[in-house]
C-alpha cells in the first residue's frame, strides 16, 4: 500500500494539490461568510435575551441534523456543486461561532464596561477597545471549533459535486482502492489537526496577559 501511495503522489501530485486547494477554498469561504454573519449576531445576542434564545435554539436544532442530511436537503433548492456545499458549510459553522461569541461578550466583566464608560468612551470605543479584545479568546475558540467541523464536513461535500479531498475518499471506496481512502482521510485529519493546533496557539498568545487579572 505504501508503494501505491508513493506512486499516486508521483503520478498525480498536481491533482492532489488541486483537491487540497478546493477543500481549503471551500472551507475558507464558508468560514468567512459564517463569521461575517455570526459575530455581529452573537454580539447582539449578548445584549438581547430574545436574540440569544433564538440563536441557542437554532444552534441546538442544527446539531440534531446530520451534516450529510443538510447537504442533501439543499439539492432540491440549490442543485449540486459549489454553492449548495458552501451554504451547508456556512450553516454548519454557525452554532459554534454563535454560542462562543455570545459567551465571549457575556464574559466581559461589567466592571470594565463601567470603567470604560466612566473614562468617557463612546459605545463604539468601548466595543473596539474593551469588549472585542476581551472577548477575542472566546471568538477564536468558536472559529477553531467551527473550522474543525467545516473541514471534516467538507469531505462530504464531494457527494454533491463540490470537489475537495472527499473525492479521493469516495473514489477509493468506489474502486475498492484503500490507498486513495488513506490519502484522503489522512489529509483531512492533518488539516483539522493543523487548524486546531494553530488556533490553540493563537488563543494562548491572545490571552497571555488577561488571565488571573480579574482578582484584585
Amino acid at each position: 500500500m505504501t508503494q501505491q501511495i508513493i506512486q499516486y503522489f508521483q503520478n498525480n501530485s498536481s491533482q492532489y494539490w488541486q483537491y487540497v486547494g478546493q477543500h481549503l477554498w471551500l472551507c475558507t469561504s464558508a468560514m468567512l461568510i459564517a463569521m461575517v454573519i455570526a459575530f455581529p449576531l452573537g454580539y447582539l445576542g449578548s445584549r438581547n435575551k430574545t436574540i440569544a434564545n433564538f440563536c441557542t435554539l437554532f444552534s441546538q436544532v442544527l446539531r440534531i441534523i446530520p451534516s450529510l442530511a443538510l447537504l442533501f436537503l439543499l439539492i432540491p433548492f440549490l442543485g449540486t456543486g459549489y454553492w449548495p456545499a458552501l451554504t451547508a458549510l456556512v450553516v454548519l459553522a454557525f452554532p459554534p461561532l454563535l454560542v462562543n461569541t455570545i459567551l465571549g461578550f457575556n464574559e466581559v466583566s461589567p466592571l470594565y464596561k463601567e470603567v470604560g464608560s466612566a473614562l468617557g468612551m463612546t459605545a463604539q470605543e468601548l466595543r473596539r477597545k474593551v469588549e472585542i479584545p476581551l472577548a477575542l479568546p472566546y471568538l477564536l475558540n468558536g472559529v477553531k471549533l467551527a473550522l474543525v467541523e467545516v473541514i471534516a464536513s467538507a469531505t462530504l461535500a464531494t457527494y454533491i459535486g463540490a470537489g475537495g479531498l472527499g473525492t479521493l475518499i469516495f473514489t477509493g471506496l468506489g474502486l475498492y482502492d484503500m490507498s486513495y481512502v488513506v490519502i484522503g482521510g489522512v489529509s483531512v485529519a492533518l488539516l483539522s489537526l493543523l487548524a486546531m493546533i494553530g488556533f490553540d496557539f493563537l488563543i494562548s498568545e491572545v490571552q497571555k496577559n488577561d488571565r488571573n487579572s480579574n482578582s484584585v
Partner: protein, 256 residues
C-alpha cells in the same frame, strides 16, 4: 472667591420603588478634598455616580462647574472627570502605560506628549516609569495596581476626580501609605476637586477637608473633621465617632 465645582439641588434617586436618595442638597467648592462617609447602602456610591452621569437622578439638578449635567455631553464630561474604583478595573489586555494613556489618546494628544505624561504620572504615584511602564496589570500587586488606577484617573488633568472606596480592598499598611500619598497628591496638584467615598471613618476624617456623613440617602452632617469630632450633629454621627473611641479604649487597655 471660590467657585462651586459640584452642586446638588433637591436630587432624588430611586431604583424602581426603592428610594435611595430622597432629597439631597450640597455644594462643593473647587479644589476641596471632600470625603463621603457612610455604611453600605446609604447612597454614597449612588451620589458619586451621579456626578459623572453613570447614574441619572430621578429628579433635581446636578451642576458641575455651574453647568447642569443633563445638558452636557456625558462623554466630554467624563473625559474631564477622573474615576477610581475599589475593584481598580485596569484593562487586563493592555500595559500600564496604555492604561494610563486611555483618556489622553481619546483626546488625541500627540504620542510624545502622552509618553511624557505617562512617565510624569508614574513618578507621581511612586512607580519607576522604566520599570513599570510596559508591565501588564496582572504583574502588579494590588497596591501598585491602584496607584496606576489613580494615575489613569489623573491622566488628562481633570479638574474633578471621583474615588469610590479606592483603598477598600487593600491591606492596612498599603492603604495607610496610599492615603498619605493621595493627600500629598491633592496638595501638590492644587485646585483639583477630589470627591472620595469611603466607609472607613478614620480614612474619611484623615483625608477630607470636609466630611459628608450620610445615612439612608440623607446628609447627617457636612463639616470639617474638627467640627464633626467636636460637635457631632446627630446621634448617628456620635455613634460613628464612638466606634473610633472604642478602638482607642482598646489600645489604652493594651498599653496599660
Amino acid at each position: 472667591m471660590t467657585e462651586t465645582a459640584i452642586q446638588f439641588e433637591h436630587v432624588r434617586k430611586s431604583f424602581g420603588n426603592e428610594v435611595v436618595i430622597p432629597d439631597l442638597n450640597f455644594k462643593i467648592n473647587q479644589g476641596e478634598f471632600i470625603t463621603i462617609l457612610g455604611s453600605s447602602g446609604c447612597g454614597k456610591t449612588t451620589t458619586l455616580k451621579m456626578v459623572n452621569g453613570l447614574l441619572k437622578p430621578s429628579a433635581g439638578k446636578i451642576m458641575v462647574n455651574s453647568q447642569q449635567i443633563s445638558e452636557l455631553d456625558l462623554v466630554r464630561l467624563r473625559r474631564h472627570t477622573g474615576y477610581v474604583v475599589q475593584q481598580i478595573g485596569l484593562f487586563p489586555h493592555i500595559t500600564v502605560a496604555e492604561n494610563i494613556a486611555v483618556v489622553p489618546r481619546m483626546l488625541q494628544w500627540d504620542q510624545e506628549a502622552i509618553k511624557q505624561r505617562v512617565d510624569e504620572l508614574l513618578t507621581l504615584v511612586q512607580l519607576a516609569p522604566a520599570e513599570y511602564r510596559d508591565r501588564y496589570p496582572k504583574q502588579l500587586s494590588g497596591g501598585q495596581q491602584q496607584r496606576v488606577g489613580v494615575a489613569r484617573a489623573l491622566a488628562a488633568n481633570p479638574p474633578t476626580v471621583l474615588f469610590d472606596e479606592p483603598f477598600g480592598a487593600l491591606d492596612a499598611l498599603t492603604r495607610e501609605k496610599l492615603q498619605e500619598e493621595i493627600k500629598q497628591i491633592h496638595t501638590a496638584l492644587q485646585g483639583k476637586t477630589f470627591l472620595f467615598v469611603t466607609h472607613d471613618i478614620n480614612e474619611a476624617l484623615f483625608l477630607g477637608q470636609r466630611v459628608m456623613v450620610m445615612k439612608d440617602g440623607r446628609i447627617e452632617q457636612f463639616a470639617t473633621p474638627t467640627e464633626i469630632v467636636s460637635h457631632p450633629a446627630t446621634n448617628f454621627v456620635r455613634e460613628l465617632l464612638g466606634t473610633v473611641q472604642q478602638n482607642q479604649a482598646l489600645w489604652r487597655d493594651f498599653n496599660d
